[in-house]
């Protein structure tokens, strides 16, 4: 499955903690305020750019860390799955 960011989520850094904040329009879909680890924030920063998906995150880290896709996916797929389960990411074909 390919994931995109759900529109209406704002990534913030306050006092060195990264947060995802839901605008009112998506309060039904995900928690309003969620602290996230730095690595998750780095993934989000990549996916925030228009048209980007989880595949772009994986490609970026494959290049940075010089590791194969399988190994990168082992680390990052659980992140994408958690964020999707919580409502912050949506399957790329469905942004409702």
């Amino acid at each position: 499955m390919t994931y995109r960011i759900r529109p209406g989520i704002v990534r913030l850094k306050i006092c060195d903690v990264d947060l995802l904040v839901a605008t009112r329009a998506v309060w039904e879909q995900c928690p309003r305020v969620r602290p996230i680890p730095r690595l998750w924030s780095a993934c989000w920063a990549i996916m925030e750019q228009e048209g980007r998906t989880d595949r772009d995150v994986v490609r970026t880290f494959m290049t940075l860390l010089r590791k194969p896709e399988e190994e990168i996916r082992t680390t990052f797929d659980p992140i994408f799955q958690t964020l999707c389960a919580e409502g912050y990411l949506v399957p790329a074909e469905d942004e409702s």
Binding site: V10, L12, I14, V21, T23, R24, V33
Partner: protein
């Protein structure tokens, strides 16, 4: 909106024009009204917000408008390094101490207990939603506001922020310093805003950081009112000693 009453109020030294559906709303704003108009569009309660309020079973009247004004006022203030913050604000030895807690946790009870313990030393700046102003030098000033809670507590002068106490109920009376990162997560939702616009959300984040960094932060659990109030007073006295 038809037939609005336009007036001007000053919050933490910043003037805002307000467009009111009910002229009686000025009753609750009276201590903050000023003569000369401000620049800029008036702040108001929108039709949608009023409709949601009514849908939730609350009456659409002057008092409702007064309550609902808090959020758009806070959002207008955010652009000026100010905000409405959900906490009781006490004044002790020249500093403001914010006690933040969810509804029903015991914020007012705790404040009352503190004031009884120290009647000449503790006064109330605002019982529910003070206005905070982040100054350029890093201090945050805590001001009264018209939204002072069920008890209507107010009266003490503005003061620079000494710290924030995040209060919850628990099995023991305990207070401990709070990491800055944890304080930020606790404080962010207390800055009044609608969460409708990204720019406002980002300004709330900036304001939260300034608030947390302007003073000390503690997490406090309260099991007994008398025990926790004594403990909190002791903490505030220690902080005041450091200041001298």
């Amino acid at each position: 909106m038809n037939d609005v009453t336009v007036c001007t109020a000053a919050f933490a030294g910043f003037k805002l024009n307000l467009a009111l559906r009910w002229p009686e709303t000025t009753h609750w704003l009276r201590r903050f009204l000023v003569q000369n108009a401000a620049e800029g569009e008036p702040v108001c309660v929108t039709d949608r917000v009023l409709a949601d309020w009514q849908a939730a079973g609350s009456p659409a009247d002057a008092f409702g408008e007064f309550c609902l004004l808090c959020q758009p006022v806070s959002e207008a203030l955010l652009m000026q390094r100010r905000c409405v913050f959900h906490a009781a604000a006490l004044r002790f030895r020249g500093r403001a101490w914010l006690i933040a807690a969810g509804s029903g946790v015991g914020k007012s009870t705790q404040c009352r207990a503190l004031m009884e313990l120290c009647p000449d030393g503790i006064s109330v700046i605002n019982g529910d939603k003070p206005v905070l102003h982040a100054l350029e030098d890093g201090r945050v000033m805590v001001y009264p506001s018209p939204w002072n809670g069920k008890e209507g507590w107010h009266g003490a002068e503005a003061a620079p922020l000494g710290g924030v106490i995040f209060l919850q109920r628990g099995g023991e009376d305990r207070i401990a310093p709070c990491r800055e990162q944890d304080a930020a997560v606790c404080a962010f939702p207390l800055v009044f805003q609608s969460f409708e616009r990204e720019a406002v959300i980002r300004m709330s984040g900036v304001m939260t950081q300034m608030i947390v960094r302007a003073g000390r932060c503690w997490r406090m659990t309260s099991n007994t009112i008398s025990g926790s109030a004594q403990m909190l007073l002791g903490t505030l006295q220690q902080e005041a000693e450091h200041d001298i």
